[in-house]
Amino acid sequence: MQTTDHNDLFTQPEYIEQFERKREFEGCSSRAEVAEVAEWTKSAEYREANFAREAVSINPCKACQPLGAVLAALGYEKTLPFVQGSQGCTAYFRSHLSRHFKEPIAAVSSSMTEDAAVFGGLSNMTEGLENAYALYHPEMIAVSTTCMAEVIGDDLRAYIKQSKDKGAVPDEVPVPFAHTPSFTGSHLNGYDAMTRGILSELSGGSAAEKNETINIIPGFDGYAGNLREYRHLLDWMGVKYTMLGDYSAVVDAPAFGEYELYPAGATTFNEVREAGNAKATVAMQQWSTVKTGEFVHDEWGQEFVAGPMPIGITATDALLAEVTRLTGRQLSKRLEVERGRAVDAMLDSHPYIFGKRVALVGDPDVLLGLISFLLKVGARPVHIVATNGDKKFKKAADALLASSPYGSDATVWVKKDMWHLRSLMFTEPVDLLLGPSNAKFLWRDTGTTFVRVGFPIFDRHHLHKRPIVGYNGAINLLADIVNTLLDELDRKAMDTPSFDLIR
């Protein structure tokens, strides 16, 4: 039986006629008016008005702090994220992360309502901890806050202590916390604050004599594959290491006929307890580990290295060189071969990418990695938009761009959004767009070839399972870009002799 669903149904004549009839009741603008305004939105004049706005944010590329706190908490064994505040937020965090990872995400809310707004959320927290512990048997409960709890000034430290005093959860169950106001920073800061909260709660202090291990912190990363790739790189270097906050197994769990709330494979409490004795901590991202870095440096007395995120050959080389410096372990032959393969792939594909003008939107660390990758294949970054970027990011990005002749066309825009980017792409067109799924509307509006990179990716499956970091990640990224470009090239060449069999 042939079934027509929404993809084909609404282009059929009876529906086209229905839509036409409906216009009589819509009070809509005339088609001529719409066409005229549509054209105007592509103009330089519109761009100016668009960039003149100071108050409204339109399609920003960022989310709020507690989302990052939830993801950070998932990186530790049998840990249940607990969000103090209104319950809708937690439903949003769960669905948002589920849509990206295609996985169940466990997190609870203290379900605060009007009365909590007046009296504070202590009783909600106490009952919430008790219920969550009884029902879901976590071994750690990681508390963060929604803006409601922040505005009314809930004191997490005091509330947790009082809840424990009342026996809501056994005293020995760690309940780390982080204040994660959504009216400052973004999901990156929430990841940072929660990571710091967990490390300081579980920390076993720091020995004067450091051991030979290093700690690794992935940062807010939308790719389970990236976390696994970090392990792969360090394993092949023969380094002793601990990954702090490894949620890769939690957001990419097997189907075994049973739903496990806490899939095995996350960072254990023991690992965190020992982490203070490591000789150094390496964070793969800078913008999601600022406070965590301060903790590592101040409390554990360790050297703390953050970024650059190892996207592309150069950044991966830099990371591994840093690991060599810290541990004395050299690059293994196997990794040299892996690197060589990635370089070889780039040689094979570069003609299709060389000289291409690129627009990018996403989180700061990912953007720096992508810029570095693009410059090395001779692509030209043009528009770089980081809604949650800061001055420091702009400086770092500008320096990176200045280091290559291919960076000379680029402008870095911080605190701007995807509606700004739309104006940029209409007034100064580019050949390629890199960004999360939300950027697909820019693809539609401007017709620019689009490759999905970053977070969130909702409309393509399983991308998060493959790394975009390390040498293998460089091959994945390259393949995604070159093959998407080739797809578009073929589509364009359909009715011309250029429809080549061999590319």
Partner: protein, 485 residues
Amino acid sequence: MPSPDINQTQKLIDEVLEAYPEKTRKDRAKHVKPNDPSGECSSCAVKSNVKSRPGVMTVRGCAYAGSKGVVWGPVKDMVHISHGPVGCGAYSNWSRRNYYNGSTGVDAFGTMHFTSDFQERDIVYGGDKKLAVIIDEVNTLFPLAKGISIQSECPVGLIGDDIESVAKVKTVECGKPVVPVRCEGFRGVSQSLGHHIANDAIRDHVFGKVGTDIATTPYDVTIIGDYNIGGDAWASRRILEDMGLRVIAQWTGDATIAELGNAPKAKLNLVHCYRSMNYICRYMEETWGTPWEEYNFFGPTKIYASIRAIASHFDDTIKANAEALIERMRPEMDAIIAEYMPRLEGKTVMLYVGGLRPRHIIGAYEDLGMEIIAAGYEFAHADDYKKTHPRLKEGAVIMDDATPYELEEFTKRLKPDLVGSGVKEKYAYHKMGVPFRQMHSWDYSGPYHGFDGFKVFARDMDMTVNSPVWGLVRKPAWASERAAG
């Protein structure tokens, strides 16, 4: 005396609720009941629309989700400002698939996310000044927007902002409606209050202020409470137009603000999602005497009955059209049933959805020979449960504001062949190897309403229940050992 079926289910429910701390167990016991189709069994009454217990992982959302996410968001020619911090708008951006026609960013704004992105200073000094600037900026950049709504997030109410004053001034200045909506997430107990607040805002800020200049006819109806998920409302509209009726407003899927204003001119308001929009229908009835009728366009049995019920409000011409339409469509519907029933007959279903579908969609499953053994609502009220009891078999499990813990336990005990719920539940069922379909977003398929929708619904339920891929899920030996020891 409760029947054996009811007693047996009660026993099962008691077992499941054992895991809760006493206070919460007592509370949950009022929300999870065996069904008594007569609705008379005093111990079977389901408590609803009260606060969720903290920490149980309620599936519910908030008032903002009910207002911006459900009711206002789909109104396509308005700019809806998520007023407050960045998150709410980011997470609710185009996740409900309220399809619309229009030029996005020009005269339609459905897939866009507008926010005031509150910073610390906005919390400290208030956001009203910023809001006024935002409204001006939106007006400059989107001249064809026919109105603006302000969807409040938690901080707005907590810091004492006066969005109503800003809206009042700006409505006059811009010459288009600026609608303040007090849907802060901490209000109420679920999405439900957000629906109600959104309805009230339509009443206060749209009625009598905008509309299309149309000559009325005796056949003017509205579609109310269809959010056009995957094109549902269009499939429903097709039926009504085929009956000879004129749909002067479609709320709120693919709606314009003018259509919202048109509704009071209708001869009859037709309500699909009763839970989210009965409020405004009652108001129109009280104010202008406009009758309203609940209808159900899920599956042929309910569609035929609804077509006849709708036609009964009109003259013989419409009644004849209705019968002719049913006769015309019946062979096609019978063919769909003939195709899919052999593969679906006798399969059992557990539903856990919002405030309407757990009862509304039962008929469509039954048309395919499937049986609902458990049904739950996130945010239903007492009247919803009253309507649900007679539609379910005796002893079926009814759940109000169920938790993932309960859903999993009932799944293990009842062993449904199919579970229908939301994205937060979906992937847990994939782990369990239990066929699952998203019944909020239609799992990115649709439409499911109307004749055109039933065909898609049947195909999707078949592919979900009967996909060979479920057969690949197996428990490795070591996993069973670990579970045992």
